[in-house]
């Protein structure tokens, strides 16, 4: 199962919550599968989806799901201790871990080799870390939403992308409609 299929499976769960989606192909895929005003698409700034999601979760009560990638988390590893030490019960970090930099040509990342992001999150102090296979992501995500406890999900899936159009929506429009969804 590749990321696109994971996103297809969990789209019905995502649409009722605030979603911060990682730069590049993940945002393009989510946008194509189920565009919602409650989706914040990152068009730049690789690595900051988890940070944006945490800041958002700490500032308002709705559930926030940040969809990140293994490569992006590796560029911003400092995020894990910050998340661990600033727990927000309404925050879920879903790391789609396909062991590759999907948006740049599927070059391998270290998580496909010796590195475990789940263990790194635990070592950073995150209390609720769940590693799952791609097929189980929906069940694990639903449980995390219901738990109301900050959860890091590491979803192990296969490398690969589905060709989707680039998002041409103006960034200020993305931000404005997202903020309206936050306030709604």
């Amino acid at each position: 199962m590749i990321r696109y299929e994971v996103l297809q499976n969990i789209a019905p769960l995502l649409r009722d919550h605030l979603v911060v989606c990682n730069i590049g192909i993940p945002s393009q895929e989510l946008h194509a599968i189920d565009d919602q005003p409650s989706n914040f698409y990152m068009l730049g700034t690789m690595g900051l989806a988890s940070s944006i999601g945490l800041g958002l979760a700490l500032s308002q009560p709705k559930t926030v799901i940040a969809i990140d990638g293994d490569g992006s988390v590796l560029t911003n590893l400092g995020t894990l201790p910050t998340i661990a030490n600033n727990p927000a019960g309404n925050f879920i970090l879903l790391i789609v871990d396909n062991g590759s930099y999907g948006s740049t040509g599927d070059q391998p990342t270290y998580t496909g080799k010796k590195t475990s992001l789940a263990k790194m999150a635990e070592a950073a102090g995150c209390d609720r870390v769940v590693e799952c296979q791609a097929e189980d992501t929906g069940t694990v995500l639903q449980a995390a939403i219901e738990a109301g406890e900050m959860t890091i999900i590491v979803c192990k899936c296969q490398s690969g992308n589905v060709k989707m159009p680039v998002i041409t929506m103006d960034p200020v429009v993305i931000r404005d409609r997202f903020m309206a969804a936050v306030q709604a």
Binding site: G47, I52, S59, G78
Partner: protein, 165 residues
């Protein structure tokens, strides 16, 4: 009133409720003051671009953010400033210790100081330089300007402003 209290009073008076910090010796008093205030959620960052992500999220969640950092951070935040804060048009007050200016004892700090204003100018970021303690009088207006314009704004505070180092 100490300069640290004065600065944090201005942040609070401008409804800033979410502040991320990466430390600098010059900023130690301000950071301690921020940490002591119940009105402000203080979240230390491990790196300044991470802090800008946190601030972007807080802003979209309805809280006014600010970041406290050293000028060396300009070197690691240009992408976050250009493609997140500016691209999505978000306000972000940046209270920056301006290391490498007059009264700086560490030569290496000068190497980033000489690029600081040029980089901020290249990014078209409104920039204010506090050199004397009385310059703090402008902080309240600068913060209002930042949120009015929805732009990142830099306040460079040098060693002379902090009373020597």
């Amino acid at each position: 009133m100490s300069i640290d209290t004065r600065i944090v009073d201005d942040l609070v008076a401008n409804d800033i409720r979410f502040v991320t910090t990466v430390p600098c010796k010059q900023l130690a008093g301000v950071i301690a003051e921020i940490d002591a205030r119940d009105e402000i959620y203080h979240i230390p960052s491990n790196k300044e671009d991470e802090g800008m992500g946190l601030c972007a999220g807080a802003f979209m969640g309805g809280k006014r953010p600010a970041i406290i950092m050293q000028n060396t951070a300009i070197g690691v935040t240009i992408n976050a400033l250009a493609t997140l804060i500016q691209y999505y048009r978000m306000p972000l007050p940046m209270i920056i210790s301006y290391r490498g200016e007059l009264r700086e004892p560490i030569a290496c700090q000068v190497e980033m100081a000489v690029h600081t204003k040029a980089l901020l100018a290249q990014l078209h970021i409104p920039t204010y330089h506090f050199h004397h303690q009385s310059d703090v009088e402008e902080l309240d207006l600068i913060l209002k300007h930042c949120f009015m314009s929805s732009k990142p704004v830099a306040v460079l505070t040098d060693a002379n402003f902090w009373g020597g180092y």
